[in-house]
């Protein structure tokens, strides 16, 4: 059996050599299709990779913020036992329950308060001091985020080491707002992070509870994950416990969603190129079958079955597909190389120099798996394209075929 397949394949190869110009053009057709597909995938994968790398480097990916999910419009605060259940999730290295509050200064500057254990600001939130120190547990001290520090220093002259009056708004029996003054000292300020922590005023949790006079539980738990690649798994298990989860990982999800949508649209166009390539194969093979009608008739007269004839035609298509796939892969490689050498400076020039770091390495990334996929796609399309000509080849009457009547 192997002998016969090899023979038929060799025979098909000779047929292709005989009409090499036509085959070369057909191969080019399918190759352009393959190159378009893998080129587009390479480009979008590259852009996706760069975007995610940028998110990873510029945002705190391994910090997850857990909020109570809102049920029937009421958000259930997080209790201590539910916090402990988060701790047992694999890859969680630390967590910090917190609640948010708001005070203001006497000049009506809004202060967004994050009440968190002072000992966990460094280890869990990975916040670092630009100056001063972290608040002592239980002490009436605060640490400023970078932006709010600048703002208060500029507008109200509040500096590290100062004590300022914070206004804590409460409501009396008749529902009227009453502002209570609480003296707070500024223990330190954090480094600039370019995220929302820059706006926060950090206060020790115990102090915040004492200021409000009641413990209302937590509305946020910060969860630290040890490995960026484990973030999505941790997010899934936290979500499964009925919490709402936010964090920098959402940006990655957004990028992936966007790139997926973009890829589908692009692939549609690339698929047109592939279909055109496939139609070229069909045309070439129909012509070839017509030209060889007599030959195929003789082939059947000397004992070939319909099956044999179908395989002879399909083997030709297979060879065209393999060559087309390989050429397509090579063109795709060339395409990505051009994008990465010529295209990259061009794109960066358009976007401006601040983007030059984003595309640090390559814009288009062509993986070996993608090249294999390209080859398989070419073979698949070629074989599909060959079905009709192959069946057509068996449909003729050998008698008429030999006489050259068909």
């Amino acid at each position: 059996m192997i002998v016969k397949e090899a023979d038929l394949l060799r025979l098909s190869a000779r047929q292709l050599v005989k009409k090499r110009l036509r085959v070369a053009l057909t191969v080019l057709g399918i190759a352009i299709g393959v190159a378009a597909v893998i080129g587009i995938v390479a480009l979008s994968d590259g852009i996706r990779y760069q975007a995610i790398e940028t998110i990873r480097s510029q945002s705190d990916l391994t910090l997850i913020e857990v909020h109570p999910s809102t049920q029937d419009g009421v958000s259930q605060l997080i209790t201590g036992s539910r916090v402990e259940s988060l701790r047992s999730i694999p890859h969680v290295t630390g967590l910090s329950p917190a609640f948010t509050d708001s005070y203001s200064t006497r000049k009506q500057t809004f202060l967004q308060i994050l009440a968190v254990d002072g000992n966990e600001i460094g280890p869990v939130l990975h916040l670092t001091l630009a100056s001063g120190r972290m608040p002592e547990p239980g002490a009436p001290e605060v640490v400023f985020g970078a932006d709010i520090k600048d703002k208060l220093q500029r507008n109200e002259g509040i500096r590290i080491g100062d004590v300022f009056m914070a206004l804590v708004r409460e409501y009396n029996e008749t529902g009227m707002p009453v502002d209570r003054q609480v003296p707070l000292s500024v223990a330190g300020a954090l480094t600039d992070r370019d995220d929302k922590f820059d706006q926060y005023v950090f206060i020790d949790r115990g102090t915040a509870v004492r200021i409000r006079g009641e413990d209302r539980g937590y509305d946020t738990v910060f969860v630290r994950v040890d490995d960026p690649d484990a973030v999505f798994a941790v997010v899934d298990s936290i979500t499964a416990q009925g919490f709402t989860v936010t964090g920098a990982f959402e940006q990655i999800e957004a990028v992936n969603r966007f790139m997926d949508a973009l890829l589908i649209v692009f692939m549609l166009f690339a698929a047109f190129a592939l279909v055109v390539g496939g139609l070229m194969i069909t045309t070439t093979m129909i012509t070839s079958v017509y030209e060889r009608t007599r030959e195929l008739g003789i082939t059947m007269a000397v004992g070939a079955s319909e099956h044999d004839v179908i395989r002879m035609v399909l083997y030709e298509c297979l060879l065209i597909g393999v060559i087309g796939g390989i050429v397509g892969d090579l063109v795709g490689l060339l395409f990505t190389a051009i994008i990465n050498t010529v295209g990259k400076p061009w794109i960066i020039a358009r976007l401006g120099p601040e983007f030059s770091t984003i595309f640090g390495s390559e814009i288009a990334k062509l993986s070996p798996a993608m090249m294999v996929a390209g080859l398989l796609i070419a073979v698949l399309f070629s074989l599909i394209a060959g079905i009709y000509p192959a069946i057509k080849a068996t449909r003729m009457n050998p008698v008429d075929a030999i006489r050259g009547l068909q």
């Binding site: 023979d7 079955s305 030999i402």
Partner: protein, 221 residues
């Protein structure tokens, strides 16, 4: 069981209503060298194609080597063409991309014979028809007579019991024709292969053991 070919009340009517064969009953014994003559349109080619498993009758039956040919079964017909019948055509009909030896071994490709065995057998048959020197030549490098010799070798390669030759000398000059006839006759005598030769040349028909004549789809003699 008798070796040879028999037809019983064979009829062939085409879809368009043309009747090509009518009640044809003939018998050809194994090893006979028979001419099939008749004007064009008399049904000779139709009869040959039915005997060779390329076409099927609409009436009657064909018995080859004692077995009724089941025309409804594809495998039977493929087997018939592969192993029992060899064809020789007026146009030689060699495959232009293959050289002489490859053309001869071409039918064996569909017989699962390994390449070495095929090539050996092809070269042997080429020497039988006197073309061992031309094994590597492509058809267009061969004369008409040489091409037909290659075709005869090809027809013999699967050791068929019958060779159906459709105007084998129609495209050859008279000297070459005579040589081809002589070659076929030698093969017939040495290998006891049955030959049924369609021809309209009375002179060539006279070389044959006997003549079957068709007129308007009916056997005359």
């Amino acid at each position: 069981m008798t070796a040879g070919i028999e037809t019983e009340s064979l009829g062939k009517e085409y879809g368009n209503g043309v009747v090509a064969l009518r009640n044809v009953t003939v018998s050809v014994e194994q090893g006979e060298f028979v001419a099939l003559v008749g004007r064009s349109g008399s049904g000779k080619s139709t009869l040959m194609n039915i005997l060779g498993g390329l076409d099927h009758p609409t009436q009657g039956s064909v018995i080859i080597n004692g077995k009724v040919v089941r025309y409804t079964d594809r495998r039977t017909l493929i087997d018939l063409r592969r192993n029992t019948v060899g064809f020789i055509f007026q146009q030689f009909n060699l495959l232009s991309a293959l050289n002489a030896a490859e053309n001869v071994e071409y039918p064996l490709l569909f017989n699962y014979l390994p390449k070495d065995g095929r090539r050996k057998r092809a070269l042997y048959l080429l020497s039988l028809v006197g073309l061992e020197e031309r094994a590597e030549h492509l058809p267009h490098q061969l004369s008409g007579g040489e091409q037909q010799r290659v075709a005869i070798a090809r027809a013999l390669v699967a050791e068929p019991s019958v060779i159906l030759a459709d105007e084998p000398t129609g495209n050859l000059d008279s000297k070459t024709s005579a040589e081809i006839y002589q070659l076929m006759r030698e093969v017939n005598e040495q290998r006891k292969v049955t030959f049924i030769i369609v021809t309209h040349e009375r002179e060539l028909a006279s070389y044959c053991d006997r003549t079957i004549e068709l007129r308007d789809g009916v056997v005359l003699s």
